[in-house]
C-alpha cells in the first residue's frame, strides 16, 4: 500500500443538488409521491384488505397467545383423555410431562440458536475485517483490490441470510453448520461495511504522526490504526452478534437448526400456545443479549 500525496478531491457531488431548505422540500415531495404511487397501485389491484373478519381473528389469536404452553407444566391436566366421537378413549396424556419435554427441547434449540449466532458472527467479523481494510478509502489499498472487496461485501450484504441458508443446506446438508455459514456469509457484508466506516472515521492526523516517526506500515497499523478502531470494531461486532441472535431464530425454518425449527413446527400445527412460548423465549434471549451488549459497548467508549 503506497500512501503518498493528498487524497484527490471528490469533485462536484450530485447529492449537492438536494442541499438547503428547497432541496429538502423537493425530497419530501418526491417521497410523498412515491408513497402515494405505492398505495394507489395496491388499492387499485384490490390487494389492500384486512380479510373478512379481522376483529374476530385478532381476538382469537390474542386469546391463544395469552395462554403460552409452558404454563401447562404447572397448570395443565395430569390426565388428558382424547376420545373419539362414540366416547371410547383413544389416548391419554399427561400434559405436564408433555409440556416439560417441549420446554427441554426449547432450551436445547435456544442453545443451538445461540451457537449459530455466535460462531456465525465471529466468522463474519474475521472475514469482514480484511475486506474492510481494503475498502476503507483512507488506507489507500490498491484500487482493483478495493473494488473487488467492495463487490464481495455488497453481494454478501444484499443476499439475505435465509437465501444463503437455502443454498448452503443443499451443499453442507441440514443442521447448524449451514446456519453458521449462512449467518457468516451475510453478516460479513454488514461487518465489512461497518468496520470500513469506523476505519474511515479515524483521526488520520494521528496515524500520519505515527508514520512520520519512520515506523513501518505494519507498525503504523498496530500502533495507530488498530488501537484507534478496536473499540468501534468490538462495538460493531456486538451489534451484529445481537442482530444475528434475532436472525438465527428464523434459520430453523429452512432446516438449519435451532428455535426456527420449533417455530415452523408450531405454526404448521396451529399450536399458537407453543408459538407463544417460543416467542417469549426469543424475546427474552434478544433482550438479555441487548442489555449485555449495551453494557459492554458503554464500557468500551
Amino acid at each position: 500500500m503506497t500512501r503518498s500525496g493528498p487524497i484527490p478531491p471528490d469533485g462536484p457531488r450530485p447529492g449537492r443538488r438536494f442541499a438547503g431548505r428547497t432541496g429538502f422540500a423537493a425530497l419530501a415531495v418526491l417521497y410523498g409521491a412515491l408513497v402515494g404511487v405505492c398505495l394507489a397501485t395496491l388499492v387499485g389491484a384490490g390487494d389492500l384488505s384486512l380479510g373478512r373478519n379481522p376483529i374476530e381473528n385478532l381476538a382469537r389469536t390474542v386469546g391463544e397467545f395469552l395462554r403460552p404452553s409452558f404454563l401447562d407444566v404447572w397448570l395443565g391436566p395430569e390426565r388428558l383423555e382424547y376420545r373419539s366421537d362414540d366416547g371410547s378413549v383413544l389416548r391419554v396424556e399427561n400434559r405436564r410431562e408433555v409440556e416439560a419435554g417441549f420446554l427441554a427441547a426449547t432450551a436445547r434449540a435456544t442453545w443451538v440458536t445461540f451457537q449459530i449466532a455466535t460462531l456465525g458472527s465471529l466468522l463474519a467479523a474475521l472475514m469482514g475485517l480484511p475486506l474492510a481494510l481494503l475498502v476503507a478509502r483512507n488506507l489507500r489499498a490498491p484500487r482493483l483490490l478495493a473494488w473487488m472487496a467492495k463487490g464481495i461485501l455488497d453481494v454478501s450484504r444484499s443476499v439475505h441470510t435465509l437465501v444463503f441458508g437455502l443454498i448452503l443446506v443443499g451443499i453442507v446438508g441440514l443442521g447448524p453448520t449451514a446456519g453458521v455459514l449462512a449467518i457468516a456469509l451475510h453478516s460479513m457484508g454488514t461487518c465489512g461495511k461497518l468496520f470500513a466506516e469506523s476505519i474511515e472515521s479515524m483521526d488520520m492526523a494521528a496515524i500520519d504522526a505515527v508514520r512520520a516517526t519512520g515506523a513501518s506500515e505494519a507498525q503504523v497499523f498496530f500502533h495507530g490504526v488498530w488501537p484507534s478502531v478496536l473499540p468501534q470494531i468490538v462495538s460493531h461486532h456486538l451489534y451484529v452478534w445481537e442482530f444475528n441472535i434475532r436472525d438465527s431464530t428464523i434459520l430453523g425454518l429452512i432446516g438449519a437448526g435451532g428455535l426456527g425449527l420449533l417455530i415452523s413446527e408450531a405454526v404448521s400445527l396451529f399450536q399458537w400456545d407453543r408459538l407463544s412460548t417460543l416467542l417469549i423465549v426469543v424475546v427474552a434471549l434478544v433482550m438479555a443479549f441487548d442489555a449485555l451488549s449495551r453494557r459492554i459497548r458503554e464500557a468500551l467508549l
Binding site: 500525496g5 492526523a205 505515527v210 512520520a212 516517526t213 507498525q219 498496530f222 488501537p227 484507534s228
Partner: protein, 282 residues
C-alpha cells in the same frame, strides 16, 4: 559543517496562488533556527516542505541529503516521491512536532512516547512491537523522558485523558525518543504555562545540543528566541524578509515584520513594549 537543509528557487502554490517563495535558504547541521512572522505568512508551510509533508513541486529542496524537489526528468510542477526505504529513513531522522499534536487517543502516554522509538527497533524487537511489547531499556528511556518533562505520574494515563499541555509534552517526548537528526517544531509551547514552557524549551535545546543535530522552530512567543535559536528567519507574505543571527534581531525589525502594534486606548503612539511579544502576538 555539512548542510542539513538546502533550498533553491523553491515555490509552493496553492490553487494557483504562490504562498511561499524561497529563492535560497541554507541551514547548516547543528544550527538552531527560529522562524518568525505574522499569521498566514507561510511559516508552517515552510516547515511542512522541509518535513516532506507538503510536496515541493518547484525548485530544489535537499533535506539531510535527500532530494525532495520535482522530478528532474519531468520538469517543474511535478513531484518525485522518494523510494519507500529512503522515505522511511528520512522520516526516522526528522522529528516532527506539529500543531495539533496528533497522539493516538486510546494509547497511554508511555505507549505514545514509545511510538517514537518504533523505527529504531530491528529484527525480533520490531516484530514484538506489533504486540506493543518493547525492550525494557526503551520503556525505561520513555519513562525517564516523561519524568524529565514532569509527567512521572501520568505515564499510564490514556492520551485522551491528558490536558492540552500534557499532550504537548507527550508529543515532544515521542519526538525526542526518535533521536532525530533534524527537529522541526511548530509552536512547541503554544499550550503551555510558563513553567512548562521552560521545561519544553530546555528539552528541545537539550535534544539539539549535539553538533550533528539541527533544530528548526516556528516561534510565536518572541521571548523564547534567545533560548531556542542562534539564527532567526523573518517571513512575511510567503517571502523571507530577513535572516539574521539572534543577537542582531532588534525589536524594530520584529515590529516591521509583524506590522504596526495595535493602537491602544490611551493614544495612537505606542512605544515598543518592553516585552517584545506584548503587542506583536495579535
Amino acid at each position: 559543517m555539512s548542510t542539513a537543509i538546502r533550498m533553491e528557487g523553491m515555490r509552493v502554490a496553492l490553487a494557483g496562488r504562490v504562498v511561499l517563495d524561497v529563492p535560497r535558504l541554507v541551514i547548516e547541521t547543528g544550527e538552531r533556527v527560529a522562524i518568525v512572522g505574522p499569521n498566514g505568512a507561510g511559516k508552517s508551510m515552510l516547515l511542512k516542505v522541509i518535513g516532506a509533508g507538503v510536496p515541493a513541486r518547484h525548485g530544489q529542496v535537499h533535506v539531510l541529503g535527500y532530494s525532495l524537489g520535482p522530478d528532474p526528468s519531468e520538469g517543474e510542477g511535478t513531484h518525485r516521491a522518494l523510494a519507500p526505504d529512503a522515505r522511511r529513513a528520512l522520516r526516522r531522522d526528522t522529528g516532527l512536532l506539529m500543531q495539533g499534536l496528533h497522539l493516538v487517543q486510546r494509547l497511554s502516554a508511555r505507549e505514545n512516547v514509545l511510538i517514537g522509538a518504533l523505527a529504531r527497533l530491528h529484527g525480533v524487537h520490531a516484530l514484538r512491537s506489533w504486540a506493543r511489547w518493547y525492550p525494557t531499556d526503551l520503556v525505561a528511556e520513555a519513562d525517564a523522558m516523561l519524568t524529565a518533562l514532569g509527567l512521572a505520574d501520568r505515564v499510564g494515563t490514556r492520551a485522551d485523558r491528558l490536558s492540552g499541555g500534557e499532550r504537548q509534552k507527550v508529543a515532544l517526548a515521542r519526538m525526542l525518543l526518535q533521536r532525530p537528526r533534524l527537529i522541526l517544531a511548530d509552536e512547541p509551547t503554544s499550550a503551555l504555562d510558563p513553567t512548562a514552557t521552560r521545561e519544553v524549551c530546555a528539552a528541545l535545546v537539550g535534544a539539539a545540543a549535539d553538533r550533528d543535530r539541527t533544530l528548526v522552530t516556528v516561534v510565536h512567543d518572541l521571548d523564547l528566541l534567545p533560548a531556542l535559536s542562534t539564527r532567526v528567519i523573518g517571513i512575511r507574505a510567503g517571502c523571507i524578509a530577513w535572516d539574521l543571527p539572534t543577537g542582531r534581531v532588534t525589536p524594530q525589525r520584529l515590529q516591521a515584520l509583524y506590522g504596526q502594534p495595535p493602537v491602544q486606548a490611551d493614544g495612537p503612539e505606542v512605544d515598543p513594549p518592553a516585552a517584545p511579544n506584548a503587542g506583536w502576538q495579535a
